[in-house]
């Protein structure tokens, strides 16, 4: 198992096998994968007893599942997360709550394979970014500062969704909250409208993951 400068380099490697294309992954995904208990527990004094017991058997099954080829709908959902994270920030400048510019921009990069129901939730995610963060500043807030705050919030939403796509987060996963906390979305910030947008996005993303797993 090997490292490459980029995903493109991995695909250009002379020994690349397209049948295993689902295992071209960002290093963050591999770091998550190799954080499973069977790797963390190697320092224990009874490791072989643990490894041959029922607990390790379950974690090994989870590892194999994680590294198996994804079904097409799951692959499409991950692609959608990537697409959302790459929408140009300029589309949210001045966008009002009923503005469809984010959706339209998103549709230009939308993967063709996304199912209708999943696509609907992703559009809701995109809209959450503009609905919950008002385009017009509050009366006592400087317009320029508000615009920059808004762009910053959207940037964070995109960073979070991009990370979600890479990390292959499943429904019920709590790592998003931790990730957002690392980005500074805690304390007083959690009371701001942008935090609500972030949470709505997170819920929609997790809902999409759940739908993809069920369909």
């Amino acid at each position: 198992m090997n490292l490459f400068r980029s995903e493109e380099d991995a695909r250009n490697w002379e020994e690349y096998d397209h049948r295993m294309s689902h295992l071209v992954r960002p290093v963050e995904w591999w770091a998550d994968t190799f954080s499973a208990p069977m790797f963390r527990e190697r320092g224990r004094s009874d490791f072989i007893s643990w490894l041959t017991g029922p607990e390790a058997s379950g974690t090994f099954a989870e590892l194999r599942e994680r590294m198996s080829p994804p079904r097409p709908d799951v692959r499409a959902t991950t692609a959608a997360a990537s697409a959302l994270s790459k929408v140009d920030l300029s589309v949210v400048d001045g966008a009002s709550a009923d503005d469809r510019s984010v959706e339209r921009s998103l549709m230009t990069v939308w993967p063709a394979a996304v199912q209708v129901e999943i696509a609907r939730h992703w559009r809701n995610t995109a809209r959450a970014m503009i609905v919950a963060i008002p385009a017009e500043p509050l009366p006592d807030v400087d317009q320029q500062l508000w615009t920059e705050t808004r762009r910053s919030a959207v940037r964070d939403v995109q960073a979070a969704t991009g990370w979600l796509a890479r990390a292959d987060v499943r429904a019920g996963d709590v790592r998003l909250t931790h990730r957002l906390a690392q980005m500074g979305w805690q304390g007083e910030v959690a009371d701001q409208p942008a935090w609500t947008a972030m949470e709505q996005s997170a819920r929609a993303i997790l809902k999409c993951q759940a739908l993809a797993e069920l369909t």
């Binding site: 490292l3 995903e7 250009n12 490697w13 295993m20 963050e28 224990r44």
Partner: protein, 163 residues
Amino acid sequence: MAADLTEPEQIPLTELDAAFAAIMSEIVDTGVAPHYAELAVTLGITPIRAKALVKRVIDLTPGWLHPGTDYIASFPPFNNQPTQYRVSIDGEQRWFAQCAFEALAIRWLVPGQTVTVDAPCLLGGDPLRIVMRDEEILLMDPPEMAGYTRSVVGGDAATRPFR
């Protein structure tokens, strides 16, 4: 008297636990896995018993012996035989990882210490570096670095030298 020396599956788990922990401790401390005769001294057992323990531990884990020998070649996450995955712990380069992904698991054996993995890209040879400590990835250069394997993880023993 220990269990039958000739029946690997009859070896008590407590003995295998002790052997695994001793080998791992040695390789974490020195960067080198012990020979079975050295392991015998550490565990206070006969060399032939230590040899049986090493073989059984290797059978139960994704490591391997160098073909035709009793030398430990790979003891994941580490490799006794040098690989392109050079690993430094708190700035000292003494270890090698079995593969790129096992390199990411070395941090769990050295809590609180900084693990640096240096390797060349297999396509163009560009230098790649990952720095980790516990749960954190402190540096990834270049940031768009990717990992890939064409081997089935958890496949049969013949596929263990993953590519």
